[in-house]
Point group: C2
Chain length 248, copies 2
Amino acid sequence: MANPTAAILVIGDEILSGRTKDKNIGWIAEKLTELGISLKQARVISDETQEIIDHVRSLSARYDYVFTSGGIGPTHDDITTVSVAAAFDVPVIQHPEAFKLLVDHYEGTDIEFVGARQKMADIPDGAALIDNPVSAAPGYIIKNVHVMAGVPSIMQAMFEGLAPSLTGGTQPTRITVQCAIGEGTIADIMEAVSAEFAPVTVGSYPWFKPGQFGTAVVLTGLEKDDVQRASDALAERVRALGYGAEIQ
Amino acid sequence: MANPTAAILVIGDEILSGRTKDKNIGWIAEKLTELGISLKQARVISDETQEIIDHVRSLSARYDYVFTSGGIGPTHDDITTVSVAAAFDVPVIQHPEAFKLLVDHYEGTDIEFVGARQKMADIPDGAALIDNPVSAAPGYIIKNVHVMAGVPSIMQAMFEGLAPSLTGGTQPTRITVQCAIGEGTIADIMEAVSAEFAPVTVGSYPWFKPGQFGTAVVLTGLEKDDVQRASDALAERVRALGYGAEIQ
């Protein structure tokens, strides 16, 4: 059976301006692979209500899981929640549990929990909270969309908390065959192995060091035995051409 | 006048699996901002022909410039060129100039320019070449789509070469006001300044250090005087609340 699919939606002008470098796509991608969930697409979009609505709707309809990051803080440019609610035609409500979490969080600090900060307790009606052990303001889940903070440390803590609730699939088997030759020379072999052993996928990653070069060929699939057989076949054919090939 | 718009399309299963971390979106984003081109969206998609066709078409129709990275090497999983050609309903041809560049590149090396390697001279009919000073295999431009390599060093060299041909706009003015207070406390001020001085945009980036916290408020716009006035107004109002605010 095919693994569940996912998309990531990073919301933030600061990424599109280049001012901040995104670290969330790569981090979530690794986690999803470990869980046996197949990340099919990632998007970075701007802080604009209609943009968020359109992308949440289309990704939610197409993939099993959607993970968003960014735009759920207390300020005017944090418009993710109203946009996600609009995408699903539900109102935004002040969530009693989220409100209490925030009251408790600010109690005994110098910061008053008033005004704009209370916006962090606003959640689309019907959404379930995602715990935020770092700074209390929760994320939430509505339908198949998981709305998380943009700050990497907070996003990561939120994701680790919700991960056990995700239905994963088979973790793919990945075998690397290190070949002591450029990818052009073994392209025909890779193409043949890819065709013969489908659905095992064959990716090639050439590398260069002073005085040395080679190609890391990465074979991936859900059936471990198939990936092993494909890797053996590839290594054997590369060696038959007269070049080193080491299964790692 | 509004600045020209752009989208980035990163093509590669290795990014979606988390095996390789994307560095191209952030790098291109910074360059576009310097050029006065407004990056509106970035996507990472898988190595699948129909995916590439669909995304190239939709992004090309919507934005002034599209920049792709990945999938133009010699191997079977490098399917960007056939897909981009299909997106624009043109055939793939062996480009004589690209072919000659590659012949010259491999001359005098141990590597024979035969078989799969010749695929790197295949270009959609009508496309203009993008110079590759690193490894010869060129990128190309078809309509408003700029097709580049995925390896960051090669992509960067290609982009630097083509940048002078892009029609840039006004480089935005960006002023940071460092405020010695959390973003929740000044959220109302930021919202008011954002409304009063539109289209100047106001972004807030809270930060925390042991024993210290604050908010970097970033004001951005194409009209320098407006951004300056908005920054002055914001700093003044934060100070009136009793907190430090330094224009940087």
